[in-house]
């Protein structure tokens, strides 16, 4: 039963090796979907290319349904997987800063590595920026600490916060995603641009 590492089915070193393999899959799919192109990524915010929206939400609904089905079949123990803790203010502030970085830089960290891998110089500069940004955070940690730790909510699930079953929430998420895809394709027709 999964997760394999927790149940000691694989060793720590195998885990690292598989992390590398998973990373290859991650990088391959991102690049193959066009996430190595900043103009394609930024296109989402202007409606001319909604590939980010489609890939991102299709991946989210696939994985969340997958996790629930795996749990249903007894293949994975969901109580053992890592859930990022929620600190309300830092999540919102961090998200807002990242959103500004996204529209200015045209990448997010994962996609910038993909872009850099195929020779995008803007992606390499973006990565340099990431290093500076992380260094600013680690060096200036005392400045951020108060906000970083404020309003700790534990690691709640949205379904619990809304009082819905996980399955029902996942289904609603599927419907919402399909609705967005429909809107995205409509927007692509309305604001057409050539491929880059």
């Amino acid at each position: 039963m999964g997760p394999l590492i927790v149940n000691e089915i694989i060793s720590q070193n195998t885990n690292y090796l598989l992390a590398f393999v998973i990373g290859i899959g991650f990088g391959f799919v991102l690049e193959a979907s066009g996430f190595s192109s900043s103009r394609k990524l930024a296109g989402m915010f202007y409606g001319y290319d909604t590939v980010v929206l489609k890939v991102f939400f299709t991946a989210a609904i696939t994985a969340s349904l997958g996790l629930l089905f795996f749990s249903l079949f007894g293949w994975i123990d969901l109580s053992l997987i890592y859930i990022n803790p929620t600190y309300l203010w830092s999540a919102i502030t961090g998200g807002v800063i990242m959103g500004a970085g996204f529209i200015m830089g045209g990448f997010c960290p994962g996609t910038s590595f993909c872009g850099a891998a195929i020779g995008k110089i803007d992606a390499m500069i973006f990565i340099a920026g990431l290093f500076i940004g992380v260094l600013i955070f680690t060096e200036g940690y005392p400045l951020f600490e108060k906000m970083y730790m404020a309003e700790f909510l534990g690691a709640p699930k949205v379904s619990d916060s809304l009082g819905l079953k996980d399955g029902v929430f996942a289904f609603l998420l599927v419907l919402a995603a399909l609705g967005m895809f429909w809107a995205g394709e409509w927007a692509e027709k309305k604001f057409p641009r050539e491929e880059y």
């Binding site: 997760p3 991102l30 489609k54 959103g99 830089g105 891998a117 020779g119 290093f131």
Partner: protein, 173 residues
């Protein structure tokens, strides 16, 4: 699967594949994908090597050391991100997209594009640490396991980018 005008993967197929990669990360390692954490590991290692005295005296690095024993570079995310580089290169090589270039709207110069890329990177670097994870680590992985934080991050990142899109339209369109 390729349409006439694009040699990129069909986005829905790409999404399903990405979802399966994420699912296998959960199944094998019990955790989602990430990116910015690998950069943090690299930064911590660099600081510890270049300025060990400084690392000793600074709260953040000391805390990091106690919560993450061992070599910071020997972490799941570092291996995963090395894989991302390899995977991205592989896909680019197969599709014939390997080329050094600066991508930008014809209406701006390369210099301006690079300046914005740097600024964006810095903001993303700070934001991802403050928000405990970036688009992949917090938003995508968080949404997959239905965590509240994942949805908050997702809404904040994309909401802000949409809200600011108009101001930076010249860079992209």
């Amino acid at each position: 699967m390729n349409s006439k005008k694009s040699n990129y993967l069909n986005p829905y197929l790409g999404g399903v594949l990405l979802g399966l990669v994420l699912l296998s990360a959960y199944y094998i390692s019990g955790r989602g994908l990430g990116a910015s954490g690998a950069i943090k590991s690299a930064i911590v290692t660099t600081v510890e090597t270049v300025a060990p005295a400084h690392a000793e005296n600074t709260e953040f690095y000391r805390d990091y050391k106690t919560t993450h024993p061992g070599n910071p570079l020997k972490s799941w995310l570092v291996f995963e991100m090395l894989g991302v580089l390899a995977g991205g290169f592989l896909s680019g090589a197969i599709a014939g997209r390997l080329k050094f270039k600066v991508e930008h709207s014809p209406r701006i110069t390369s210099k301006r594009r690079l300046a914005f890329a740097l600024m964006g990177g810095i903001l993303f670097g700070v934001g991802s640490q403050l928000g405990r994870g970036c688009t992949s680590g917090s938003a995508l992985s968080g949404m997959a396991n239905l965590s509240l934080g994942g949805f908050i991050s997702m809404a904040a990142i994309f909401g802000t980018a949409f809200a600011l899109a108009w101001f930076f339209r010249k860079n992209w369109i």
